[in-house]
């Protein structure tokens, strides 16, 4: 940790890499992980990709209202999570389903959320992919960008002042770093030396605007760290080993009470922002082969090829196993309904459940409104 700290100033504008073009792990940041760990990472990244591919198609088939992929960014969430302890807390954005996958969340559970169906633990309240899973240390996603950052810092402050060793990791997109909340998070993290990792996922796009509109033409996002006196590291986000290693370094620092780290994960949003977006209106089409940093899955696969005899047959078998798991999960999830399954007035959830959890105990005005709603629904039915 100390040795690497001396490089700190440059790290904010450099690009930390471990995997070279031949798939070899090189340099000081090589985390020297055992093969099983690498295979598991690969499996989790593939799971995310296959899962998202299917759910994207499900949305296109009208089975839910909205979907959004992390295609090309799988290493960011998966490898980062592998470097955290299982009970470290995460405050992600919508683009890190890899955290849930890496922590073993059931795919059915995630799909039910996407379908807002009877199995959705969030009771149909949230837009697809706005997961919440306390069991997996995954804070409920907000649709509002940036808000999770100071929350993560507060959680980390609370952990530190409680003498707990758990740390927090938060994620924010390149675009959202322009929000005041990002600044608040950095100031508070610095001032209280909070045990937190602030991950800036620079996928180079914020809907239709390239990262220059967020300031990337002038310096790196990791350089923001310098202004707060926080270590900042710019990492190749498509290099799972580099992501792992930088995260591990930051996590150890935080756990040893040396304070926060800002990690910029340089990657690429390969597809549109979401199913509501058509990127052909603002940028040229790219094929996976052209991804500037390479496909993170291919790169890890190549590494396993070179170092552990991972061959195409095993890779294909893994893909097949995952695909079949995903397919099974989807079937199970769809048994519990999907949004497009009935008409819009055929609700998967007890409608009155929307009044639950507004407060711990329901106040009179919500009780009244709930009754009014039920009467209204009855009237609607009797009209038909």
């Amino acid at each position: 940790m100390a040795a690497k700290a001396s490089e700190i100033a440059q790290l904010a504008t450099a690009l930390v890499r471990v995997l070279d073009d031949d798939g070899r792990a090189v340099g000081a940041w090589n985390p020297q992980l055992p093969t099983e760990a690498l295979v598991q990472m690969l499996e989790h990244m593939l799971t995310v990709r296959i899962f998202e591919d299917r759910m994207f198609r499900a949305q296109r088939q009208g089975k839910t209202s909205f979907f959004l992929k992390s295609l090309g960014e799988e290493a960011v969430a998966v490898a980062g999570t592998h470097a955290l302890d299982a009970d470290d807390m995460t405050f992600p954005t919508y683009r890190q389903p890899g955290i849930l996958v890496a922590r073993g969340c059931s795919l059915i559970d995630m799909m039910c959320q996407i379908y807002s169906n009877r199995g959705d633990r969030l009771k149909g309240r949230q837009l697809p992919v706005m997961y919440s899973s306390r069991a997996h240390g995954f804070f409920g996603i907000s649709g509002t960008l940036g808000t999770q950052c100071p929350q993560a810092v507060g959680w980390a402050m609370a952990s530190a002042l409680s003498g707990d060793t758990r740390i927090a990791a938060t994620y924010i997109g390149d675009g959202a770093t322009a929000e005041g909340d990002f600044h608040h998070a950095c100031v508070f993290a610095a001032v209280y030396r909070a045990p937190v990792i602030i991950n800036i996922v620079n996928n180079q796009w914020a809907i239709s605007t390239f990262s220059g509109v967020a300031g990337a033409e002038l310096t790196s996002f990791a350089a923001r760290a310098i202004g707060y006196g926080i270590p900042g590291i710019r990492v190749d986000g498509n290099d799972a080993l580099a992501v792992y290693s930088a995260t591990q370094w930051a996590a150890e620092r935080a756990r040893a009470n040396h304070g926060p780290t800002i990690i910029e994960l340089f990657t690429l949003r390969v597809e549109g922002h979401s199913t509501s977006d058509d990127p052909s209106a603002y940028r040229p089409q790219q094929s996976a082969a052209d991804w500037p940093l390479g496909d993170p899955i291919d790169r890890l696969k190549r590494h396993l090829n070179v170092t552990a005899g991972w061959d195409d047959a095993r890779h294909a078998a893994l893909i097949e196993r995952i695909t079949s798991q995903v397919r099974t999960a989807q079937r199970e999830a769809e048994k519990l309904g999907s949004m497009g399954a009935g008409d819009v007035l055929n609700f998967a959830h007890e409608v009155s459940s929307m009044f639950d959890d507004v407060y711990e105990t329901m106040p009179w005005h919500l009780v009244e409104q709930r009754e009014q709603m039920l009467a209204e629904l009855e009237a609607a039915v009797s009209c038909q």
Binding site: Q126, T209, V351, A379
Partner: protein, 337 residues
Amino acid sequence: MPVMNMIEALNSAHDVCMEIDPKCVVFGEDVGYFGGVFRVTAGLQKKYGRKRVFDTPIAEGGIVGAAIGMAAYGLRAIAEIQFSDYIYPAFDQIVSEAARIRHRTAGEWSLPLTIRSPYGGGIFGGQTHSQSPEALFAHSAGMTTVIPSNPYDAKGLLIAAIESNDPVIFLEPKRIYNGPFDGHPERPVAPWSKHPAAEVPDGHYTIPLGKAAIARSGSDVTVLAYGTMVHVAITSADEQGIDAEVIDLRTIVPLDIEAIEGSVRKTGRCLVLHEATRTGGFGGELAALVQERCFFHLEAPVARVTGWDTPYPHALEWAYFPGHVRVGLALKKLLES
């Protein structure tokens, strides 16, 4: 006469203003090259250049803060907040600054500043793409808050807002961007083209801020509504066969109190509608005003139909939305009491 949907009409309002007044500038998240996630500013950057139409960083407080500075310089700033659910990071700049600068500088500076933002539900946007925050701005002295309900009004009101020398919050009912909405989600979306208010002149015209319109005349009950709810009100009255007068407020502050009083004195009954959560919503203000000013004409209490006091639930959207059933029941009850 050209036929436009609401997006086209709003786009045309921008175009007309930018053409006439070189001081107009347009900006916001994804507003420039892409033309806005709802395409309201499509084509403007190409036509007027990147200096006058540009993308901003994702920082609503920065957008409004910078807009205030631009307006203080003397430009007419037109800022888009991508969804009105995301206007809160700019709340301080709006209520502490934009609303107060004319007053606190005793008129040394005024702010020709329009903040546009799509609001409301009905598109399965979940809790952060469905909110109706109008009441918050109505409570901020110095702000003008405008909500159109059709293409013709949208264009005329937006031009008036842009040409106003005071800051205006301009909330666009996104559910009716592409067609009026009668409150029946199960029916196919009707396009604007069949609606008379889709006839929108190409050129410059304004609809005065602070003036309501009678969207449906009637004599048994007055319905106060704005945005999407105007259409729901009309449908509900038609369906129930109730002779309701539907007043489309168009501007909620300043309010067209004369139109309201005139109608309520005539009908003796009043129903107030909004999609926003009920408690503390603008409906409270409307109900309070109506009973303060028309008490002895009222034959029944002023009633409210609103969204529930919960976040807008994604999949349960159509149990949340104050649609034709809720409005219809309220109308019937009001006429029975």
